[in-house]
């Protein structure tokens, strides 16, 4: 009995060190024109125990950056951000009006109906591959 208890104890501490996967929802990307320079993807992230989004890659783009939109005194602006903190249990939305993923050096245009693959990198839970639908250029949010 003691040996079995010992094994369970070891297993539970090992599990405690691996942060649970981040939950991803409401993902979508905006369609782009062939001669357009950049693309945008949005999604909502939720980490039960807390995590940090540190980077993103996509096979559709040479580079994916984290950007924040600001609006102050009638002027709209965009900033680089290095990482995005996910407080434990809180849904953090990358969505119009706030933060978003900017796709640069696009390999091809994104057409409505396509699927965009993203590889999300988190400091605690590691890498997570997701796919989001490409919506028409006039879309304002994920399809429910």
């Amino acid at each position: 009995m003691r040996a079995v208890v010992g094994v369970f104890w070891l297993a539970s501490t090992a599990l405690a060190h691996a942060a649970p996967a981040v939950a991803v929802s409401d993902g979508w990307a905006r369609a782009t024109l062939p001669h357009q320079d950049g693309g945008v993807a949005c999604l909502t992230l939720r980490s039960a125990s807390g995590d940090i989004l540190t980077g993103v890659d996509s096979p559709a783009a040479g580079m994916v950056m984290l950007h924040q939109t600001t609006q102050k005194n009638g002027v709209s602006a965009m900033e680089d951000i290095d990482s995005l903190a996910l407080p434990a249990g809180k849904a953090v939305a990358l969505a119009p009006g706030g933060t978003h993923l900017m796709l640069m050096d696009m390999k091809h245009a994104l057409k409505p109906g396509d699927t965009l693959r993203l590889s999300l990198h988190f400091s605690k839970s590691g890498d997570l591959d997701v796919s989001v639908p490409v919506l028409p250029v006039g879309a304002t949010g994920p399809q429910k």
């Binding site: 905006r30 369609a31 024109l33 001669h35 357009q36 320079d37 950049g38 945008v40 580079m63 950056m65 950007h67 939109t69 609006q71 005194n73 009638g74 002027v75 709209s76 602006a77 965009m78 900033e79 680089d80 119009p96 009006g97 978003h100 900017m102 640069m104 028409p136 250029v137 006039g138 879309a139 304002t140």
Partner: protein, 179 residues
């Protein structure tokens, strides 16, 4: 937005006695590479918005709202309104791109670009703030005034609509202005 409200005086800027004049002559290029001036819109209301195609967020949302607002207008009113999207990023927004981009939101939206000087002149006429904002890896965004301008059939300034306005509000404002 309080600052902007003080600056803008609806009712046409050409009145003597002060008030900032909003709008004025511009000579830009459309998606087909043709010159388009402000005079081409006389007789119709203009719903003007300045932005750029590399803008991920506020520009697509506003253009989408403008297109939806046009859909809400009665047919006769709709025919009297010309939605216009003028780029603040002529370096990247070529005529073909700005034209196709604007039309992707709504067939009536006219996308305009031009030389740096021509775009700067249009920005100056509308008192639009636009500045290059460097981002990592050689990318850049354009910080820009984000607001819709309504110009009357005589070319005179009628008022502004905040970029956060929903399509129903945009449509109502246009009708209120006489569209």
């Amino acid at each position: 937005m309080a600052g902007a409200a003080v600056l803008l005086r609806p009712g046409g800027g050409s009145r003597a006695g002060g008030g900032v004049q909003i709008g004025g002559p511009f000579a830009l290029v459309n998606g087909a590479g043709k010159t388009v001036t402000d005079r081409d819109f006389r007789g119709r209301f203009m719903l003007v918005y300045f932005g750029y195609t590399h803008c991920p967020d506020v520009c697509p949302t506003t253009l989408s709202d403008m297109a939806s607002a046009m859909d809400k207008l009665p047919k006769a009113s709709r025919a009297r309104v010309a939605p216009v999207f003028i780029t603040v990023d002529p370096a990247r927004d070529t005529p073909a791109l700005i034209g196709d981009y604007a039309q992707a939101f709504g067939s009536e939206i006219v996308g305009l670009t031009g030389s740096d000087a021509a775009v700067a002149a249009a920005e100056a006429a509308y008192h639009v703030y636009a500045a290059k904002h460097p981002l990592a890896h050689g990318d850049y965004g354009m910080d820009h005034s984000s607001i819709m301008y309504v110009m009357g059939p005589d070319g005179g300034f009628l008022g502004v609509i905040n970029d956060g306005a929903k399509p129903a509000e945009i449509a109502q404002r246009l009708l209120d202005f006489g569209a």
